[in-house]
């Protein structure tokens, strides 16, 4: 995928500028049950298709993005700043 990712702050940037973390999941509340936490830390839908993933623009604006893309076709639908939003399409 993702030879280039549409950073909402920097525009299309090559993959090598990014650090990828994995599924863009919300962190459970501190007092959520053990099951919720184990699911958050370890279990993954791992879909074959549409997927939201955390990418960090390490060599660019240093913002964490949620990159929406397709794991089968490698189409990138868009990327938004995890805190600021601002979805951009490629």
């Amino acid at each position: 995928m993702a030879s280039r990712v549409p950073c909402p702050h920097c525009g299309l940037r090559p993959k090598e500028e990014f650090t990828i973390k994995g599924a863009a999941l919300p962190r459970p509340a501190p007092d959520a049950g053990e099951a919720a936490w184990i699911e958050y830390v370890y279990l993954r839908e791992n879909p074959r298709g549409a997927y939201d993933e955390f990418w960090h623009h390490t060599s660019g604006c240093r913002r964490w993005l949620v990159v929406s893309r397709n794991t089968l076709t490698h189409d990138v639908y868009g990327a938004r700043d995890v805190a600021l939003g601002g979805e951009t399409q490629p």
């Binding site: 090559p14 060599s59 660019g60 240093r62 913002r63 700043d81």
Partner: protein
């Protein structure tokens, strides 16, 4: 020790280098990093009166963050004054030693930089006055276009010599 010789030693001790029409320089001066809340707008008063005499430039460094670069080295009180005025919306971090500034100018600048920069440096895509952070080869930089054929790069001090050497290598064919 109060009389010790205090010498500023920049990361790369080099005279300007010319490769044909290309010129590589290290202008020195000061570099301040401004930290705002993500989403903040740039400092409203662009004149930066505290450092006005140092011909400051403002460089985008990601949401809510900027670099101020000056050709003259700022004094502690000048930085303090600027920090005081910008507080609390912006924190000022002195990076004059932490980043090293390199100026590249001359007609082949864009062609030379394209060897390391994935950005489209076409003047309509990356116009004069724009700055952004990006890789030059393997090294992260803040790249600004200061003129049609001139660019400035800010690089972590520790990588400055490596970047300088890389740029010389990239420039060889123009010399």
């Amino acid at each position: 020790m109060r009389d010790s010789a205090l010498m500023r030693r920049p990361a790369v001790a080099s005279e300007p280098v010319r490769c044909g029409d290309l010129l590589l320089e290290a202008p020195g001066g000061s570099i301040l990093q401004l930290l705002g809340k993500a989403g903040a707008t740039p400092p409203s008063d662009m004149s930066l009166p505290e450092v006005a005499g140092a011909s400051p430039g403002l460089r985008n460094a990601g949401p809510g963050q900027w670099f101020v670069v000056t050709d003259r080295e700022l004094t502690g009180p000048e930085i303090d004054a600027l920090a005081a005025r910008l507080a609390p919306s912006l924190h000022v971090v002195d990076q004059s030693s932490g980043r090293f500034r390199i100026r590249v100018s001359g007609a082949p600048s864009r062609r030379m930089l394209a060897k390391g920069v994935a950005l489209d440096l076409h003047p309509e895509r990356f116009p004069v006055g724009t700055a952004t952070s990006t890789l030059v080869g393997q090294i992260g930089t803040n790249l600004a276009r200061t003129g049609q054929d001139s660019f400035e790069l800010l690089v972590l001090r520790g990588f400055a010599q490596s970047l300088w050497d890389d740029l010389l290598l990239m420039s060889r064919e123009f010399g």
